[in-house]
């Protein structure tokens, strides 16, 4: 095992929001008379989930990891594999860093060094790990620990100013990426070639990750990962462009036609745009997600597509964006979550319509008193590229 023997306390320079989240954790530990919080992550960076280790330390680990935060606020980050300790030490906000190829053994060691009673720990994120590893960690903790699966997503549900700035930058990267797509998309290009160009263009702009789906058809059932199909005249290209910048994902949903779109397609796409506008207006602080969803669904009902407001014709009307917090969760008709000022998520009334196939229209939004304000400079339109 690597890691500092003396475990010196590193000076931390926390932002106001980071301090506030840390104080909340300490308060919870104090109230419940617990010694420490242990947050885990599996290193998979799901864009719909919170990565507790990233939120609490600023490090996107390569693999399974944990951070131990004592009631005094002192934190110890444990990363695997052992050789990643140097990078973690350079970028973390934690006081100590340990690196190891054996997470349970390192965790046991960290608890012993800080005189933390394993039976007096609250955990979060343990459910992201595989069963085999969970069993070994539970053995290190002396049994099934107290768990709060949603603690970090709740604490970080409203983005800090720094996180909002990063989300804004991620949105700008997405918009530049889409512009690049409009430049290069042409008949004959294979889907994977288009995806390669788009993905790498956004990475060149600093996107460390990208939940990118790009596919095309004359009549799409849904968006999917790029395949080897060649783009054709009359294709409708669907793109879900989701770069991540400093841990903040932002998503654009776009529909692009090769050649001039038909009047029918324009008419149907206008239904999605109207749903988007109405959804944005309804999404004010205090509004229930279910009501915002209903407003968007109403647009489709009024256009005669009420039967299509369910899977597999659509999935959700938007969703939270990891890896900080997945709140407010999925934008669905059965969600009672109340929107809060400063929440960031993607709103997207994407919809399959029988006449046109699946169409996409969506922006990353931030909740303001005036409604859901798009972070993007240009709203989704039915774009086209020359045939």
């Amino acid at each position: 095992m690597c890691g500092s023997e003396k475990l010196p306390v590193k000076d931390m320079h926390l932002t106001t929001s980071e301090t506030s989240r840390l104080q909340s954790i300490c308060r919870i530990l104090e109230e419940q008379q617990l010694d420490a919080l242990i947050a885990f992550n599996n290193g998979q960076n799901l864009f719909l989930d919170a990565n507790a280790v990233f939120v609490l330390t600023g490090v996107r680990p390569l693999a399974e990891s944990a951070v131990v935060i004592g009631r005094d606020g002192i934190s110890t980050l444990i990363v695997t594999p052992a050789w990643d300790g140097g990078r973690a030490t350079r970028i973390t906000r934690s006081n100590h860093v340990m690196s190891s190829d054996d997470l349970p053994a390192a965790l046991r060691d960290a608890l012993r060094r800080h005189r933390i009673d394993p039976k007096k720990c609250l955990t979060t994120g343990l459910q992201t790990l595989g069963n085999g590893l969970v069993c070994r960690i539970e053995a290190a903790l002396g049994g099934k620990p107290l768990a709060d699966k949603h603690l970090i997503a709740e604490l970080a549900r409203v983005r800090s100013p720094e996180e909002r700035a990063a989300a804004q930058r991620a949105t700008e990267i997405a918009e530049r990426g889409y512009e690049r797509m409009l430049e290069v998309a042409r008949p004959g290009l294979r889907e994977y070639e288009l995806a390669a160009e788009l993905y790498c263009a956004m990475k060149r702009l600093g996107a460390e990750d990208n939940f990118l789906l790009v596919s095309a058809s004359q009549h799409n059932l849904a968006v999917r990962a790029a395949g080897n199909r060649r783009l054709d005249i009359g294709d409708i290209i669907l793109s879900e462009i989701t770069p991540c910048f400093h841990g903040q994902f932002a998503q654009l949903c776009r529909t692009t036609v090769i050649g001039r779109p038909s009047a029918l397609l324009e008419e149907k796409y206008a239904v999605l745009q109207a749903a988007m506008r109405r959804g944005q207006a309804a999404a004010v602080p205090g509004a229930a997600v279910r009501d915002v969803t209903a407003v968007m669904d109403d647009c489709f009902r009024e256009a005669g597509y009420g039967d299509y407001c369910r899977p597999p014709y659509m999935r959700v009307r938007g969703h939270g964006l990891g890896i900080t917090s997945d709140q407010p969760g999925d934008i669905t008709a059965d969600s009672n979550v109340k929107l809060e000022e400063g929440m960031i998520f993607v709103m997207h009334p994407n919809q399959y319509l029988p006449e046109t196939g699946y169409l996409m229209c969506g922006e990353p939004v931030v909740i303001t008193r005036g409604g859901a304000e798009a972070l993007s400079a240009r709203r989704a339109a039915l774009d086209f590229v020359p045939a």
Partner: protein
């Protein structure tokens, strides 16, 4: 090598019957059928996730782009594949597997319980399981609830032997993929030599591989003079005196990888690393043992330690995963077998001699190691471009 796992695997991947006809999977699942007959199991359940899907891919060809997938393979009855995406996404998922019956795992009761009803009756039966150590607790609880007392699960991970040789069709696919890996590493090197910094050069290698239909690409570069490797940060630091980088490419399910070392003036460590890799390749043949291979590889390093990012190993099996076991460590007990493919790598870092790691992916044959892609190949291709 561990690298940051992406939020989704975006590259092109479908079940291509030209490469893997249906009979290939009949041959593979025959081992499961034999085990089911022998033990009286009614089915085998195979789990994999986006990061570790080797067993799931071997039996189903399915590689989850995000989260997890599970193949439900009964001895009698229809197989089913569940994956952790919405029902809207199922048409795209069906393209990746020979199993025709693919459903969303998000509708668990509807899609698992209905399958179970056709397999298990009132009497308690047994199912074999593969990969269940990787399963997250929430899904495991859901599964346990569905199974109740009707089904007992028996770990059957050894049905896919850890030290198995790749099948001939697998070897063909892997060889095909190494062409892209070699080219991508050459593109990386070219970009570096043209004046790009390490991250920009690695991105060029990645772009090259993705434009040739790579399923996934991972890169690491050194930003600290070769002492360690780091994932993409987007900082795009200017070119420095030496390059130490790593690129791994997955094509049609199969991984291969290359380390790239370059500098205006070759570091002294490079000669040692190359001598170590040459000795390792010369010694790599069926029945060669890990400890002996390790000793041969590190001898040219003298008193210098193996580079820390290699975690004490000079090789491991690759295939449907970048680490399929068989680490060639000082005290390792792995034994090479014909038909396996190994990723071999040797290098070090030293204040005086700089940093270097060189590598080769090689098939183990009766005649010795047949190199499929390597640092040397990439350098050669780079010069020819």
């Amino acid at each position: 090598m561990r690298t940051v796992h992406p939020s989704i695997i975006i590259g092109s991947y479908v079940w291509d019957e030209a490469w893997l006809p249906r009979d290939e999977f009949q041959i593979r699942t025959a081992a499961l059928n034999r085990a089911m007959d022998e033990h009286g199991w009614k089915a085998v359940l195979i789990y994999g996730d986006a990061r570790d899907s080797a067993a799931l891919a071997y039996f189903s060809n399915f590689i989850p782009r995000v989260r997890w997938g599970m193949a439900l393979l009964p001895r009698q009855g229809e197989p089913r594949l569940l994956c952790s995406m919405s029902s809207r996404d199922m048409p795209g998922m069906r393209l990746m597997t020979w199993i025709p019956d693919v459903h969303s795992g998000w509708e668990w009761e509807r899609n698992f319980d209905s399958w179970l009803a056709g397999i298990a009756g009132a009497e308690t039966v047994e199912f074999g399981t593969i990969g269940f150590d990787l399963m997250q607790p929430t899904l495991a609880e859901q599964l346990a609830k569905s199974l109740g007392n009707r089904v007992r699960l028996v770990a059957a991970d050894t049905l896919l032997p850890a030290d198995r040789a790749l099948r001939p069709r697998e070897l063909s696919l892997l060889r095909e993929g190494t062409e892209i890996t070699n080219d991508a590493a050459a593109a990386l090197l070219d970009a570096w030599r043209a004046g790009e910094g390490a991250e920009a050069a690695a991105l060029e290698g990645e772009r090259h591989a993705r434009a040739k239909a790579a399923q996934d690409v991972r890169t690491l570069v050194s930003l600290d003079g070769g002492q360690s490797l780091a994932p993409f940060s987007g900082a795009f630091a200017a070119k420095t005196g030496a390059l130490l980088a790593y690129i791994a490419v997955q094509t049609m399910g199969f991984w291969s990888e290359i380390f790239v070392t370059d500098a205006a003036k070759a570091p002294a460590m490079l000669k040692r690393a190359e001598a170590g890799l040459a000795a390792l390749l010369a010694a790599a043949r069926p029945d060669a043992r890990a400890a002996a291979l390790h000793a041969a590889a590190v001898a040219p390093l003298g008193s210098r330690a193996l580079h820390p990012v290699l975690s004490g190993s000079v090789g491991r099996r690759i295939g449907l995963g970048l680490d399929e076991g068989g680490a060639l460590t000082k005290d390792g007990d792995a034994v090479l077998r014909a038909g396996q493919v190994y990723g071999f790598h040797v290098g070090g870092w030293d204040e005086a001699e700089g940093a270097a790691i060189v590598s080769a992916a090689a098939e183990i044959t009766a005649a010795g190691a047949r190199v499929l892609c390597s640092s040397a190949d990439a350098r050669q291709r780079g010069r020819q471009r």
